[in-house]
Point group: D3
Chain length 134, copies 6
């Protein structure tokens, strides 16, 4: 159950269709995934979200697969079911091996482990970590 | 303010000193950071945590810098102040450039953005993402 | 799957029935939603929760629709599936338009975006924001 | 302590100065707050964040004060210290009364309360809440 | 820095003083802690919060120390600095030993660890766990 | 839908079978639950996770039921569906009564309530809570 219906391409407004077209062309696919069809109820938000995502996930100082794995890490921490599935599928499509996936899960779970310990004891930050201004 | 005091090397039990020694040797440093000094109140937990972390963060299918960035991503999502500082410092020490840091922050914040949208609308997961069993 | 069964009106104790009756009368409905039927296993908790909620959500300095939208915002942040659905339905029943819903989602997702940036960089709070005591 | 230093206007690049100028002009203030000075290390991210925020927080189907209160609600749920302070100050500057603030806190805390109950018992969603597709 | 000032007993309204008196009498202390002084800006919320807390934390099917440790666990997960400090102090005042505290931290951190794994892989719930209705 | 398939005993590697055997023997059951079957794709992570969990959940300064309830509290805060179900079932198997479960839910939800208030107002920590070093 979702809070909005999914808007299919043929039922979309020209504004929405333009975004859908750009997503399909950029990704080389012939249909957009549910996230965009749900967001299509909000054309302005749809457009801004896609344009942001396209910039953020493009190759840059970090390669696309690393970005996907960082995306998965955040999605697990937020426990966003949709995002975990979409970005895990996407990471695999970009070449994530099972060994990399195992290590990703190992790092993510270990981070949750030590995060809980450091937050639980409220460990004071070492002065040596200071890179900005106290 | 923290919930426990920090145990310095000279005041530590032999069991704790052994872990501190291994941390310093593994990392090539001459003092351990506060996290370990706080955890030293709980020698068994200290030992297990360090042994886990050493294995998880070692080079493998993912390189150490990628692992640090994933660690930062989780720590931001959990808003663990200590962990954000320690792992950002650690990532920089392992060569993270400012351009990489900018992209890391961009991916992490964008993931929080779309996580909120997908969770907020409870978008149904696409069947195409299925890699396991429904 | 839930951790408790749902207790229907006809199977409820007099104490639970009294709460159910008050919910139905207050809301002008003829059956209570699942949340209350699950909570009915814990009559005291059921009673206190309902009495709190009735006070908190009543019209006051904030109007009921604004309260529902704030409730949705928290429920998205906590990713409480049940609460997202029940309060989105409730907000719509209280007149939330699609344009308002679009803006609500836009604000909520943007807040997650900048929350991640501010927490990730641990930006020091401006003295100008101080309204209490430092 | 923050992970980056704050970049002051006089030390900023022309690209950053342009964003700072727009923030000051839009808000009618003569200096930007720390968040933007920290983000100035990442000019592209700074620019996109500000442009997004300007659109999202502008008056629309929801009034600016309601948007600030929704922002506070999310910031509390994420426990973003900076954001709680900046948006609480901002809401007050936009006219939030103490009575409204009390009710905002009451709704936010109550939402956390029932979120925990509904998530803890994994209450099945009522079919009546369905507004999209099951 | 907090978003409100602290209201001292001598400056409090009769309604607030009555709550402060009950807190002090119930706990056998001669001043209330900061939480209540901050909440005193919102007398109705103060009163309801205290009355709830008094009932919830009273001895019952669970003993008070167990309740404090559960409270700490939630506070760590939410990373509520104030709550971690106040409830850790409270648990120690109620007799929590260092050995118990070590095990509490060990369970809490392990729970975060496996929570991340189960959420990250979206493991399907075993039918055998069903205690309610599917 | 999960991100990995479940590996059954008969299809498992000897390394995985050894862990499965130890889980079944330790718990006195004749099949492991889904969590372990999913984790079996990552034999090293499976082994370390199980060995950690076995140590952490063993009787010690805290009894096993108390540990399960703390585990539930964290799982609710993280909203880990699988973990909520598995540990609620486990707590019941270890003797958690309905009265204890009601109080557990009451404490957990109340903790979320006051966590939100304390974090929302950013209440300054009382000096009296200091047990470590400021």
């Amino acid at each position: 159950m979702s809070t909005v219906s999914l808007i299919q391409y043929e039922d979309a407004s020209p504004e929405v269709k333009a975004v859908f077209d750009d997503i399909m062309q950029t990704r080389g696919i012939d249909d957009v995934n549910h996230f965009w069809k749900a967001l299509a109820h909000h054309p302005e938000l749809l457009k801004r979200t896609w344009e942001q995502l396209k910039v953020v996930m493009a190759p840059g100082a970090l390669d696309p697969l690393t970005k996907e794995m960082i995306y998965i890490a955040v999605s697990i921490a937020n426990n966003c079911e949709y995002c975990i599935h979409s970005h895990t599928a996407s990471a695999r499509a970009k070449g994530m091996t099972e060994a990399q996936y195992q290590e990703l899960l190992a790092v993510v779970s270990m981070a949750h482990f030590t995060n809980a310990l450091a937050s639980g004891m409220k460990v004071p930050v070492d002065a040596a970590f200071d890179a900005g201004q106290s």
